[in-house]
Amino acid sequence: MVNLEWVSTPAGPCLVAAISGELDLQTAPLLRTQIEGAWSQHPEARQLILDLSGVTFVDSSGLGAVLGRYRQCVLRGGRMALVGLQPNVRRLFELSGVLRIMEAYNSLDEALPLPREGGGRA
């Protein structure tokens, strides 16, 4: 459900977490534990990309897990971006208002490397 990959960028290592399936109360904790585990291996890392193109459903529990990773990333002084939101998933993200604070891109190519300035383009 969560596939993790470290990508080298000029700004240091970037964790790309490709998530698939449904993000709800049952599955959201997996997102948290797996990403926290990966972060602990690279304490110097400051960049996180959540590839949600394989996510087919999200509710407020899933949103909470995504927002939690965002907060964690900001606390580290880093940046986080979302990639590949499917229309139904994007709708709930928009409804919650989190897209006003998070960068979102259509593809991983667009998101990598995370730009130093500017907001999301998707």
Binding site: E22, D24, L25, Q26, A28, R32, F57, D59, S60, S61, L63, G64, A65, L67, G68, N88, R91, L92, L95, S96
Partner: protein, 161 residues
Amino acid sequence: MSGATDGTHPRLQENHFVLEFPSLPANVAFSRYAVAAFASQLDQFTLVDIEDIRIAVSELVSNVVIHAYPDGPGPVRVEGRLREGCLEITVSDQGRGIANVEQALEPTFTTLPGERMGLGLTFARQLMDEMTVTSVPGEGTVVHLVKRPSAAPVQPPAVSS
């Protein structure tokens, strides 16, 4: 209900179901799938309507799992009814209840800060056409939802001769 002469029922009139299951996280997905499959019987619902219903049920059942039974899983009851071209859903529990329903309905209010966004009831209310919450502390909570097909044809004006 009168059927067609070949024994089929060309237009669904009324139907209902009752589900009861323990308040386990795994049953959140089960309940939203069950209700979505039931709602799909009303073919006026669009895919977006069905998605709205899935999210609302997911939120309400998640709330029961998280809040209603602090000492372990307890019973969750989900009832659905298709009537007069709309879907009614009732999610109820016999848990500890909500001390202040008005406060619980405020966006971002949560009794469990952490990673809970406090948006569950807000989403359910926004995505459905009607929502009422009734709760008695120590006895449980009942949430009633109504969803009408978003693409329902507007009633044509009466033709006067």
